[in-house]
C-alpha cells in the first residue's frame, strides 16, 4: 500500500493504483480526456499533468504508478501552465461550434476549457477538417471535433469485443474510423457516445432535439431485457427524449445496450391512448372508459371462474401483476401464467434465478452456456463475461447456438443429448469443469421453452451438483431470463393455481371452446389465433399483436410512465420511477385492474399504489427491499424424462426487436436493416 502526499495531504492507495487515483483519494479533481476507469490507460491527452517532487517536468498522472513516498502537487503554477498548454493544443484544431454541437452543456472539453482555456487563439493558420465517418444508424459523427483520446477505440476493442474502430494515419492526418466505414457491429455500440469527451460522436436519433438543461432527469430501471440495467430517463414534458446509463457496479456498471438506449422512439408510435372495443364490423372502435369498464365487468361477471384466464407479458411491473393476481383470486379463477413463452420454470426460487449474481461472473473460472446467446439476450452481462475471459482466458463451452459471443467459445454442439454426455463425464469439456474452482452454468430460455424444458433443467441441476457448480459457498447455477417481468411474476406466484391452466393449456381450452375470457396483461408474444373463440381483454400500451386480436383494449402505461417494481434475472428488487405521463386516456396498469374489480363488484381493495405495494410486500416480503437480492435455497427441481432429439436453440434471433416497444421503434428497425445489409455484404464479399 503506497503512501503518497498530494498537496500536503497524506493518502494511502491500493497497490497498482496510479497517481491519478491518489489525487482523487486526496479529494483533488484531475482534468482528463483519455483516461477512463473502465478502459486501459492510454496516456495520450496529457491533460492530467501534475508535479512530482524531483521530476524534471510535469508527469501524466493517469499513467504514472503510485509509488511510496511520492510527493505530488497539483496546485502549482507550473501545473496550471502545463495544462493550459495542453488545452491550447487541443483547441488548435477543435472547431468553435459549441452553439450547434449536441455535446454542448455536457462536454468535457467545454467544461475544462473554462478552467484551462485561453480567451483567444494564437493559432492563425487554417484549422484541419476531417471527413465525417459512417458508423451506423446510432452514432452521428463530426470528426473535426475529435481530439484523439481513443476512448471509443479502446471501448470497442476491450469492452464490446468488436475491434473495428481504429486510429489511422498519424499526426496531423490521424483519423478515427471503422474499417472500411462499416457499422459498428455491437449491441453496446452507442456507449461510445457517452464515452466521447467531445462532440465527435453524438447520438444520431437524439440529434438537435434537446439541450441537457431542458430535460427532466428521472432515475429508473430498464425493461428491455432481464438484466435490469439502471438508467436515467431524460424527458421534456410528456416526451422521453433519451435514456442514459446510470452507474450500478453490480448490474450494468456504466453501460447499457443499444436497445435500452434507443428503443424509446417506439414509446411514441403505435400507442394505445384510449380504450377500444371490437364492433360488429370486426374493427376496433374508440369507446369511453365507462363503456370499457362496463363491458369488461359484464363479461367477467357472467363468465364461470374456471373459464377465465390471465396471462402477464414480459414487461409488466410487479404491482400490476399482483393486482391482476388478486383480481383472479377474487373471481376464483386458478388460471394465470406469467410465462407467455411457455418456459418450464417455477417452483423453487433457486431453479429460476441467476444465483451467482451478475457480479459473481467476475469470479468464475469455467463456464457452460446452455441454450442461450448472452450477447443478444443480455448484452451488458455478456460484456462482463468477456472481461473475465480477457483476464483469465477461462474455458467457455456452449451447447446450443454457435454464435460469436465476442470471446472464444468451445461449441460442444446443439443436441440435447450432450447434456447426458456431460453429466456422465463422457464429454471432454467435463475435465475443464472439474478443474475449475468456481464453475458456472448459464441456461437460457431457449433450452427451457422446449417441451422437455423441465428435463433440461433437471439435467442441468444434476450437472451442477456433480461438478461443483453448487457448493456451500458458491452457487454458479444460473438462469438467464429474457423477460424483465418474469422473476417478479414467478416470485409472487403468477402461475397456475391448483387445478389451473398454464399458457399451453389455456390455448388448448380456447381451441376447444372452453375458455370464455382471456385477460392479457401486455402479452404480445403469444399466438392469439388459438384464442379466437375467447373474449380477449388486452391491457397494454402498444398496438401490437395483443391489441390486433383483442375484443376490448384497455390502454396502459409503458415502463417510463409508471412507478413500478422489477426483479431482474438475479432476483434483484429494483424500483423504477415515472418520467412522463401516459398519453391520452391511458392509465397506470394497477389502477385499471382496480377499476375493473370495482365495476364487477369484487373489489381487490388497494386504492393507491402505496396500498398495492403494501399488500404485495406483505405477500412476498423481499419486494420491500430495494436493490437487494434474497438468496435462494438450493432444492431438488427439474424433470427426469428423456430429452427429445430436437436441437437446442436460443430464445432471441433478432436483438433489435423483442417487445412491443422495440418493434414500434424506427431506430431499431433501421439498426436491423443495417445489420442485415452488413451481413449480406459479408456474404457477397466471400
Amino acid at each position: 500500500m503506497p503512501k503518497l502526499t498530494v498537496n500536503d495531504i497524506e493518502v494511502d492507495v491500493e497497490d497498482g493504483s496510479t497517481v491519478l487515483h491518489a489525487c482523487e483519494a486526496a479529494g483533488v479533481e484531475i482534468p482528463r480526456f483519455c483516461y477512463h476507469d473502465r478502459l486501459s490507460i492510454a496516456g495520450n491527452c496529457r491533460m492530467c499533468l501534475v508535479d512530482m517532487e524531483r521530476a524534471p517536468k510535469p508527469i501524466a498522472s493517469c499513467a504514472m504508478p503510485a509509488g511510496d513516498g511520492m510527493v505530488i502537487r497539483t496546485d502549482t503554477d507550473r501545473v496550471k501552465k502545463a495544462r493550459e498548454g495542453v488545452m491550447e493544443f487541443l483547441l488548435i484544431n477543435h472547431p468553435l461550434d459549441c452553439p450547434i454541437c449536441d455535446q454542448g452543456g455536457e462536454c468535457d472539453l467545454q467544461d475544462q476549457a473554462m478552467g484551462y482555456g485561453l480567451d483567444g487563439s494564437r493559432f492563425s493558420e487554417n484549422k484541419r477538417a476531417v471527413d465525417n465517418k459512417h458508423m451506423g444508424p446510432l452514432i452521428s459523427t463530426v470528426m473535426t471535433r475529435c481530439i484523439h483520446c481513443t476512448r471509443c477505440v479502446r471501448f470497442a476493442t476491450e469492452v464490446a469485443g468488436v475491434p473495428e474502430l481504429g486510429a489511422i494515419g498519424r499526426g496531423e492526418t490521424m483519423e478515427i474510423t471503422t474499417y472500411l466505414e462499416k457499422t459498428l457491429a455491437s449491441e453496446l455500440s452507442a456507449n461510445v457516445i457517452d464515452l466521447c469527451p467531445v462532440g465527435a460522436l453524438t447520438s444520431r436519433p437524439y440529434a438537435f432535439t434537446a439541450r441537457p438543461w431542458e430535460l427532466n432527469k428521472t432515475e429508473s430501471i430498464d425493461v428491455m431485457d432481464a438484466v435490469g440495467s439502471n438508467i436515467r430517463v431524460d424527458a421534456r414534458g410528456a416526451q422521453v427524449m433519451r435514456v442514459l446509463p446510470r452507474l450500478n457496479e453490480d448490474v450494468n456498471e456504466e453501460w447499457i445496450s443499444d436497445k435500452t438506449r434507443y428503443a424509446i422512439d417506439g414509446l411514441r408510435r403505435q400507442r394505445l391512448d384510449r380504450p377500444y372495443a371490437r364492433g360488429r364490423d370486426g374493427k376496433l372502435h374508440p369507446i369511453s372508459w365507462d363503456e370499457a369498464l362496463k363491458t369488461v365487468a359484464g363479461k367477467l361477471g357472467k363468465a364461470k371462474a374456471k373459464r377465465v384466464a390471465a396471462i402477464a407479458g414480459d414487461q409488466c411491473d410487479a404491482e400490476s401483476m399482483f393486482a391482476l393476481k388478486s383480481l383472479m383470486a377474487r373471481l376464483g379463477s386458478p388460471n394465470l401464467d406469467c410465462r407467455q413463452d411457455g418456459a418450464k420454470i417455477g417452483g423453487a426460487r433457486s431453479s429460476y434465478l441467476f444465483n451467482s449474481t451478475i457480479a459473481g461472473i467476475d469470479d468464475v473460472d469455467a463456464l457452460l452456456i446452455i441454450g442461450s446467446n448472452p450477447r443478444v439476450e443480455a448484452a451488458v452481462l455478456n460484456a462482463r463475461i468477456r472481461r473475465n475471459w480477457l483476464a483469465t482466458q477461462m474455458p467457455v463451452g456452449v451447447i446450443g447456438e454457435n454464435a460469436d459471443l465476442t470471446y472464444a467459445t468451445q461449441w460442444l454442439g446443439d443436441e440435447a443429448s450432450l447434456l447426458d454426455d456431460v453429466l456422465s463425464g463422457k464429454h471432454k469439456f467435463v475435465a475443464k469443469l472439474k478443474k475449475a474452482k468456481r464453475p458456472m452454468i448459464i441456461i437460457g430460455m431457449g433450452a427451457l421453452v422446449r417441451a422437455d424444458g423441465a428435463s433440461v433443467l433437471g439435467k442441468a441441476r444434476q450437472i451442477a451438483e456433480t461438478y461443483g457448480v453448487v457448493t456451500d459457498k458458491w452457487n454458479g447455477f444460473n438462469i438467464l431470463h429474457s423477460a424483465a417481468a418474469r422473476v417478479a411474476g414467478l416470485d409472487m406466484g403468477f402461475l397456475p393455481e391448483r387445478g389451473g391452466m398454464d399458457v399451453a393449456a389455456m390455448a388448448a381450452a380456447a381451441k376447444a371452446g372452453d375458455l370464455d375470457v382471456l385477460w392479457s396483461l401486455g402479452a404480445d408474444e403469444i399466438d392469439y389465433a388459438d384464442f379466437a373463440s375467447s373474449f380477449v381483454i388486452y391491457q397494454g400500451h402498444h398496438g401490437d399483436a395483443g391489441a390486433h386480436h383483442a375484443d376490448i383494449v384497455l390502454p396502459g402505461a409503458v415502463y417510463t410512465e409508471k412507478d413500478g417494481i422489477y426483479l431482474n434475472t438475479e432476483g434483484r428488487v429494483q424500483y423504477a420511477n415515472r418520467a412522463a405521463f401516459p398519453p391520452g386516456e391511458a392509465r397506470e396498469d394497477w389502477a385499471i385492474i382496480r377499476a375493473v374489480s370495482g365495476a364487477i363488484g369484487k373489489s381487490i381493495g388497494m386504492d393507491s399504489l402505496a396500498e398495492v405495494r403494501d399488500a404485495l410486500c406483505e405477500a412476498v416480503p423481499h419486494f420491500a427491499m430495494p436493490d437487494q437480492i434474497s438468496a435462494a435455497k438450493w432444492a431438488k427441481f427439474g424433470g427426469r424424462a428423456k430429452l427429445s432429439s430436437q436441437p437446442i436453440t436460443s430464445a432471441i434471433e433478432n436483438f433489435y426487436m423483442t417487445c412491443a416497444i422495440s418493434r414500434a421503434s424506427e431506430t431499431m428497425a433501421e439498426c436491423r436493416r443495417a445489420q442485415q445489409a452488413d451481413a449480406a455484404g459479408a456474404v457477397a464479399a466471400e
Binding site: V130, D131, T157, P163, E164, L165, G166, A167, I168, G169, R170, T173, E175, T177, T178, Y179, L180
Partner: protein, 218 residues
C-alpha cells in the same frame, strides 16, 4: 493529405502471397514468441508491398490480418502510420525526397525544383508517364551526405539541380547511376577526401573506384 487520398480507390479483389514469400512469412513469424505473431505485421506489410508493385492493396491488409489473427483495422493502423507503406499504386521509380532541416540547408529545394520542373508533380503524385512518383519525406538518416533522394531502395546523395537531372535522365533510360554520392565520395568521408592519419599513411585518396549500379528494382 487526408487518409482517403492515400488509399487507392481502385482495388484488386484478391491478394495472395507467393509460395516463396509464404516460406519467408513462416521464417519471420517464428522469430517471435508464440502468441505474439502480431509483431510480424511490419515485415509482412513490407513483403506484400515488394510483391505487389511497391504498393499494398486492401486485400493484402486483410490477408495479413487473417494470417496474424489481428483485426483488420489494427493492420490498417500500422500501414497508414508509416509513410513507407504505399496504399496506392506508385510509378516504377518511387522518389522519396528528404526535406528535413539538414537536407533543406544543403539545398533540397533545388533537388525538388528539378523533379517538379520535369514531371510537374507535387508530393504524393505520379508523373503523367506513370513511371515516377514523388513523396516528400522526413529525415532519411543520411544527413552527412545531404540532400538525399531515395529511389526505391537506393539512396542518392549530395544532389543539386544538375545532378538530380542527370539522375533522372539515367532512370528514364533505365540505367541508373551508381548508388551513393553523386559527387563520387566514398561513404560519408569528407568531401575533400580522407583526412585521418591512417588514410594518409596507406596512401588512399578516398575516391573508391568500384561502385554498384542502381538496382532499378521496382
Amino acid at each position: 493529405m487526408s487518409i482517403d487520398d492515400r488509399i487507392a480507390a481502385d482495388q484488386p479483389k484478391t491478394f495472395q502471397f507467393t509460395a516463396e514469400n509464404e516460406k519467408e512469412i513462416k521464417r519471420i513469424i517464428a522469430k517471435y514468441p508464440k502468441g505474439r505473431q502480431a509483431s510480424a505485421v511490419m515485415p509482412l506489410l513490407d513483403l506484400a508491398q515488394r510483391q505487389h508493385d511497391n504498393w499494398i492493396p486492401m486485400a493484402a491488409i486483410e490477408a495479413i490480418a487473417n494470417r496474424l489473427e489481428m483485426a483488420e483495422i489494427r493492420v490498417l493502423e500500422v500501414a497508414t502510420f508509416y509513410t513507407m507503406f504505399n496504399l496506392k499504386p506508385v510509378g516504377k521509380y518511387f522518389l522519396q525526397a528528404c526535406t528535413t532541416t539538414p537536407c533543406w540547408l544543403r539545398g533540397s529545394d533545388e533537388m525538388m525544383r528539378c523533379i517538379k520542373d520535369r514531371y510537374h508533380i507535387a508530393s504524393g503524385q505520379t508523373s503523367a508517364c506513370g513511371r515516377f512518383s514523388l513523396l516528400e519525406v522526413e529525415c532519411l538518416g543520411a544527413c552527412v551526405n545531404a540532400p538525399i533522394l531515395q529511389v526505391n531502395d537506393d539512396f542518392y546523395e549530395d544532389l543539386d539541380y544538375e545532378t538530380t537531372g542527370a539522375l533522372l535522365d539515367s532512370l528514364e533510360a533505365d540505367d541508373p547511376l551508381p548508388v551513393g554520392s553523386v559527387t563520387g565520395r566514398s561513404g560519408s568521408e569528407a568531401s575533400g577526401g580522407g583526412t585521418t592519419l591512417a588514410a594518409v599513411k596507406s596512401g588512399k585518396s578516398g575516391k573508391s573506384a568500384s561502385k554498384k549500379r542502381g538496382s532499378a528494382h521496382a
